[in-house]
């Protein structure tokens, strides 16, 4: 397509063409399928580049027909049912009142206490704690010393963390988290490690996932810490799952250690 026609396409989709020119252009599109395809693509690109949703019509071709056939098959129906079953199984219970939430929290505390007490007597995974102690190291956390003064909250948090003052460390990290919109892998790792020390495994795992998703060059450290969190919580199956992911990517942080640990867990 020549530049002149391409320019017309741009004018048409941006609405800068006069009404009569637009009408002529539409007539031309009706008879010229290639031109129509150019217009569709130019529109789709504008949607993509401006971060808005592309609302193109669904084409009727072999691929879309195959998709539809699959979606209406028995297999797809069964699959949907499986997905729904797991979804309802994993649903967080809803509470109607604050009072019920307090009752639930109290009950959960009692259960956790009992599990911990029983755990002291009957350890279900005798090797897990030992392996955690052997493989978990705060040296794997990134250094925050060289960072600028704007991250002083992060530094203060890291110092409190090193002094094992975990509640203070968490307060600094929360404050820093609230003050920044930018993803910060160091923050997520430190905050996760702090929550881990405080026994909040679920919260820790959430932070390590944010680290993984931070697009940082060494985001894969998040996987290692996530595996450590599962290991500390005694969830060997999930720990192995994450470790397998590390073991299958040579460039992931602690790849060799992950392989070694996997063998020990098997």
């Amino acid at each position: 397509m020549n530049d002149e026609l391409q320019l017309k396409v741009e004018q048409y989709i941006s609405g800068s063409m006069s009404a009569s020119d637009a009408l002529d252009f539409e007539k031309l599109m009706e008879t010229d399928a290639a031109l129509k395809a150019e217009v569709t693509l130019a529109k789709q690109l504008n949607f993509h580049l401006s971060g808005t949703t592309d609302d193109s019509e669904v084409p009727n071709n072999e691929y879309t027909q195959n998709l539809k056939s699959f979606m209406e098959s028995e297999e797809a129906k069964e699959l949907k049912e499986t997905l729904r079953t797991v979804q309802s199984e994993r649903r967080v219970p809803k509470f109607r009142s604050k009072k019920r939430r307090i009752i639930f929290a109290a009950a959960a505390a009692v259960v956790i206490f009992l599990i911990s007490a029983i755990g002291l007597i009957f350890k279900t995974e005798p090797g897990t704690e030992k392996l955690y102690a052997q493989y978990y190291s705060t040296n794997d956390l990134p250094s925050v010393i060289q960072r600028g003064t704007s991250n002083s909250l992060l530094k203060q948090g890291a110092v409190a963390f090193q002094n094992e003052n975990f509640s203070d460390a968490l307060a600094y990290f929360e404050q820093y988290d609230a003050s920044t919109e930018e993803p910060d892998m160091a923050l997520y790792l430190y905050k996760g490690a702090t929550l881990l020390e405080l026994g909040n495994y679920y919260g820790a795992i959430q932070e390590f996932e944010l680290a993984i998703d931070s697009q940082s060059i060494d985001a894969s450290k998040g996987f290692w810490f996530k595996a450590m969190a599962y290991l500390k919580s005694g969830d060997v199956s999930n720990a192995k799952y994450v470790l397998s992911d590390i073991a299958s990517h040579v460039w992931y942080y602690n790849h060799d250690k992950a392989k070694e640990l996997l063998k020990k867990l098997d």
């Binding site: 690109l45 971060g51 084409p59 691929y63 979606m71 998703d213």
Partner: protein, 188 residues
Amino acid sequence: MLPSAANHIQIQKLLQGDEETIRLLYDTLFPKFARYVKKNSGSYSDAEEVFHNALFQLIARAKVSGVVIKTSFEAYVFTVCKNLWLKELNKRKKKVRNEGVFELKDDTEDHVASILQQERWELFEEMLIELSEKCRLLLKDYFNKVPYDVIVKKFSYATENAAFQRVFKCKKQLAMLIKNNSKYNQLI
């Protein structure tokens, strides 16, 4: 995220409707996604519907044409869910809000449209990387409505017209790369 050489074992397991894999996604990824939806004008049940639809669409796509994942599996699924939620938000913005409740659709037409959108999104992202860095940055600024005078200064163009010409050429080059890709024909 770093590129992955192999394609994911989790996709294979999902294809078999492996409940353990689905459970794991609900345990590890769903809470993060629900948090994202809540921060972005949605509710827990919106997150549930979008997550369900995204998994179903991913499996359908993998069954019919295969899925190539170049990031970690979790990061990929999260992106699919995020795109689906953004699509839903855009749709809601356009609708007249007569009622406070929105129902997310779970029908074939909608699933197929979403799959195609996600595939185009992936193809366009892939082709954007093929452009020169300058073209990429220029298109990004232009479509993020950075004023022309700022673009002229930033990219050292002589005039605003020269900047416009450059945007035009970069977009044309991107369109060419997409059209030359074999995947595009089934998406349009």
